[in-house]
Symmetry: C2
Subunit: 206 residues, 2 copies
C-alpha cells in the first residue's frame, strides 16, 4: 500500500504527525490514527491533551534537573537520602533504571544528554555548570559517573572529571566488568581484559 | 528497566495514553513521550491537536461511508467515475490500496468492518442497510466484493450476497488465484486447487 492518496486532509495531517515519531513509519502511523478514530471523542481528547499538558506543565527539578511535577523532585526532597552522594546520569530513563535496582540511596544529577560533537551537542548544552555550582558550594562529597559505556559516555566522563578534579571530592564510576550470567567465552576482549586489570577482592559472594 | 516509579504524574499519564495504542508497549511509549518532550511547545500542540481536530471534524461520505473532509468524498464527487459500479471494501485502508492500483474507475462502499461474532460485530454494526438502500433505488448495476480472503470476509460476502441476490444487479468478487511472482511449489493446496477450477482464457498476457 502506497500512502500518497489520503481521502482526507485532516487524516493526512494526523498521520504525518505520528509518522514524525522515532521508529513509527507511515503505515504504522495510519494504523494508530485509525485506532484512535474508533475511540470516543472524550478518549481522543484525553490522549491529545495528555501530551500537551505534559509539555506545558512539566518542570525540571532545581536540584538535580530531573523531570518533575514540582520545583524539587521527590528524590531530592526525600529526607532519608544522602544528598552528599550524587550519581551523574544521562537522562530520566537512567534514573528510573537505577531506582529500580533499590541499591542506591544518594541523589542524582541529570545531564540531559552526552557530549557528542557529531550531533552538535557540546558541554554548554548539558547541565554541567549546574553540577559544578553544587560542587563549588560544597554540597557534594562523592560523584558517581553512571553513563553509557560508549564513546560519548567516556568523553563526557572525562570532560566532567577534568572540570571537577581540583575540588575536594571523591569521583567514582560504576563498576565495569563481566555481567552476571555471562559465559566467559562469549565476552569481548576489552571487557574481559579490563575485568582482569580491575580485579577485586573475593568475599565469598558476588 | 521496570516502569513502576515515574518521577512525574503528568509523564506517567502521557505514557499510559501512548501505551494504550495497539502494538506500543510501555518502553516504546516512554521513548515516544520523551521524544515529544524534547520538541518545542508549538510542535507538541500541533501533534496533540492534529488528532483532536481529526476526531472532531472528520466526516463519513454520505454516498460511500468513506472518511472524508466533506459531506460527499472526492471519489464519489468525481464526474469521470462510473457510479453504477460499486466495490465493497472493509475499510479506508482497502480503498487506498485499490486506488493505488490505478485499475479501478468505479466508486466504493465502505462497510466499516467485517461480520465477526467472536468480536461482537454483527451485520447491524456495518453499513449494509445503506448499501441495500442504494441497490433498492436502482443506483447500482454491479457490485464487486473486495474483502479479505478470511473466514470473516467470506461470511460477510455470503451475508450481503443473500440480502442482495433478488435485486436486478451483477454481483462479482475480485479474482482469487496465484499471486504474480509466486512459485507453484510453495502455494497452498486450496489456492492452487481453486485456480485450476477457475481457470481463465489465456490471451497472450497476464
Amino acid at each position: 500500500m502506497n500512502l500518497q492518496s489520503f481521502p482526507s486532509k485532516l487524516l493526512e495531517k494526523a498521520v504525518n504527525q505520528f509518522a514524525s515519531l522515532p521508529g513509527i513509519g507511515r503505515k504504522t502511523a495510519l494504523r494508530l490514527v485509525l485506532h484512535l478514530l474508533n475511540q470516543s471523542q472524550d478518549d481522543v481528547e484525553k490522549f491529545g491533551n495528555s501530551i500537551i499538558e505534559l509539555k506545558k506543565n512539566v518542570k525540571h527539578c532545581k536540584h538535580c534537573n530531573n523531570i518533575s511535577d514540582t520545583d524539587i523532585c521527590e528524590i531530592c526532597s526525600d529526607k532519608s537520602r544522602n544528598t552528599k552522594t550524587v550519581c551523574v546520569v544521562e537522562n530520566i530513563k537512567d534514573v528510573m533504571s537505577i531506582e529500580n535496582t533499590q541499591q542506591y540511596f544518594g541523589v542524582y544529577h541529570v545531564l540531559g544528554g552526552l557530549i557528542s560533537p557529531m550531533d552538535g551537542i557540546g558541554p554548554s548544552n548539558l547541565s554541567i555548570n549546574m553540577l559544578e555550582e553544587k560542587v563549588k558550594n560544597g554540597d557534594i562529597d562523592e560523584i558517581i559517573f553512571a553513563l553509557s559505556a560508549t564513546m560519548e559516555g567516556d568523553t563526557t566522563n572525562f570532560y566532567i572529571y577534568k572540570r571537577l578534579k581540583n575540588y575536594p571530592l571523591t569521583i567514582n564510576t560504576i563498576a565495569r566488568g563481566v555481567s552476571i550470567g555471562d559465559e566467559l567465552e562469549y565476552i569481548d576482549e576489552i571487557t574481559l581484559g579490563r575485568s582482569i586489570v580491575n580485579r577485586m577482592p573475593f568475599e565469598g559472594q558476588i
